[in-house]
Symmetry: C3
Subunit: 199 residues, 3 copies
C-alpha cells in the first residue's frame, strides 16, 4: 500500500518533469503527454522487466496513467499562466530520482538480490526515466551534469540499506533514503557541489 | 493469421524506413540491414517484453528476418537506380506507425488491459521502432516533429476501440484504425497541420 | 563455466571502454562507474530479456558488479598516470563486441533459435552495450562509423556457426568467432577498410 502510493507520487513528479522538459519543443498536447508517460513509467518498467515482475506495474491498473495525464495537464495549464519556478525541472527530477531509486531498491531487496545489486538496481531504476526523457527531448542528459546525480541515488540507497542494518524499520529507512537523495541532489545544484571529476 | 501477415507488412515498411534513414550515413550494406532490423523489430519486441509474450515474435520464426533482409536489399537497389520518392521515409514510417500501433493495441486488448492502457501500449509499440531508428542514425526523432505524430497513433487506437464498441467486427475496426493513423499523419505532413503546440 | 568466465571478461572490457568513453565528460567517479556498468551489462541484459532467461545474469551474482567496479577503478587510476594507449577505447570495444556477440549467439543456439536468428541475436547482444555507452556519453555511436562494425559481428557469428557445421567442437568455434570479429574490426581500423557504403 505504501509502496503503491509512493509509486504514484514518483510517477506524478516524473510526469511533471517530462512536461517541463518538453517545453519549447513544439510538441502538441498529446505529444507532451506521451513524453510525460515515457518519463514517468520508464524506470519502473525497466525494474519490473529486470526482476521479471508481471504484469508490469501500469499494465492492469489505469490509476498510473490517469495520474500521469492529470499531472501533465495541470503542469501544462500552470506553465501557461505563470512562469515555472526556477529549477522546477531539476526539482521534479530530483524527487523522481529519489523515489524510483528507493522503490527499485525495495523491489530488488524483496527479490533477495545482494546489497551491491540492490544499489545498482535502485540507481538504474532511478535514472532511467530521466535518461529517456532527455534523449527523446534532445537534451543533454541530467546524468551527464557535473553536479552530483547518479552518486546521489547510490548514496541514498546505501543509506537506506545502512539504516535497516542498524535496525530502523523499513519505511523509516525508505524515507531517510529519499531525503538523502533529494538533499544531495538539490544541495549540489544550490551550491554547485560535485565530487572530483574524472579527466 | 491476419495478425501474422500484418506483423510482416509492418516489419517490411519499417525496414524500408530504416534503410531510407540510413542513407548518407556512410554505413555499409550489413550495417544498413542492422539498422533496418532494429527499426522493424523494435516496437514489437517492446510489446512482447511488456506483455510477457515469449518467445519474442521473431525469435523462432525466420520469416520476419527474411522479410527484413529482402525489403532492405530491394530498397537499397531501388534507391541506387532511382531517386526515392519525395517524403518516402515519412510515408513508410506512417504505415509502420499505424500497423504497429494497432497490433500493439490488439495484443494489449487480448491481455485484458483496460482501454486507456490499450491506447498507451498501442502508441508505445507504434513509436518505438521509429525512435530507435532516429536515435541510431542520429536524426531528430520524427516523434519530435511539429506535425501530428504520436497524436495520430492515439487517435487511431481510440477510433479502433470506438468502432468495436459500436459493434463493428475487430478486423474492420483494425483497418479503420490503420486508415485513421495514416490519414492523420500524411494529411498533417501534406497540409502542415498540427495541434496547438505547448510553449 | 567457460561461458561464465567469458561473460566476466566481456563485462570487464566493456567496463573499461565505458570509462574511456566517459573521459572529458566531467562526470564524477561514481557517475563514471554507472556508465561503465551500463555499458558492461547492457548487451547481456537485452539477451537475457529477449530469451526470457531469469534471473538476469547479474541479478543474483555480485561477481559481475565487482569485476565492473575493479576494472573501472583500475582504468581511472591508469589513465590518471599514463596516457591511454592510442585507440584504446576502440580496442576494448572490439573485444567486448566480439565476446558478447559470440555469447549472445551461444545462448540463442541453446534456445534452439534458427541460424539466421542466432546471427541477429549475437549481433544485437554485441552492439547494445556500446550503443548505450555512446548515447549516454553523447558520442557518435561506433556502430555508425564507416569502418566495419556490425558487419564484423555478423561475420564472426557466421564463422562460428560454419565451424561447428564443419564439425569443430563448440569452444574452438567460439574462439574462432571471437578472433574473426576482433581481427576484422581492428584490421578495418588499422587499414581504414570498409565495405561498399550505401549512399
Amino acid at each position: 500500500m505504501l509502496l503503491y502510493i509512493l509509486d504514484l507520487v514518483g510517477v506524478a513528479v516524473f510526469a511533471i518533469s517530462g512536461v517541463l522538459a518538453a517545453r519549447d519543443r513544439e510538441l502538441d498536447v498529446l505529444g507532451v503527454i506521451v513524453v510525460a508517460a515515457m518519463t514517468a513509467i520508464g524506470g519502473g518498467t525497466l525494474r519490473d522487466l529486470l526482476l521479471d515482475r508481471h504484469p508490469i506495474f501500469w499494465l492492469t491498473d489505469t490509476t498510473y496513467l490517469v495520474v500521469i495525464i492529470v499531472a501533465a495537464l495541470a503542469t501544462i495549464v500552470y506553465v501557461r499562466y505563470r512562469p515555472a519556478p526556477l529549477f522546477s525541472l531539476r526539482v521534479a527530477d530530483a524527487f523522481g530520482l529519489a523515489l524510483f531509486a528507493l522503490l527499485g531498491a525495495s523491489y530488488a531487496e524483496a527479490a533477495q538480490a545482494p546489497a551491491l545489486i540492490v544499489i545498482l538496481m535502485g540507481t538504474m531504476t532511478g535514472v532511467t526515466g530521466g535518461v529517456l526523457r532527455d534523449i527523446v527531448t534532445a537534451r543533454v542528459p541530467l546524468i551527464m551534469q557535473r553536479e552530483i546525480y547518479a552518486s546521489a541515488a547510490i548514496a541514498g540507497v546505501a543509506a537506506y540499506l545502512l539504516m535497516q542494518a542498524l535496525g530502523l524499520p523499513q519505511p523509516v529507512a525508505f524515507v531517510g533514503g529519499v531525503i538523502v537523495v533529494v538533499a544531495l541532489r538539490l544541495g549540489a545544484l544550490r551550491w554547485n557541489l560535485h565530487l572530483p571529476t574524472f579527466r
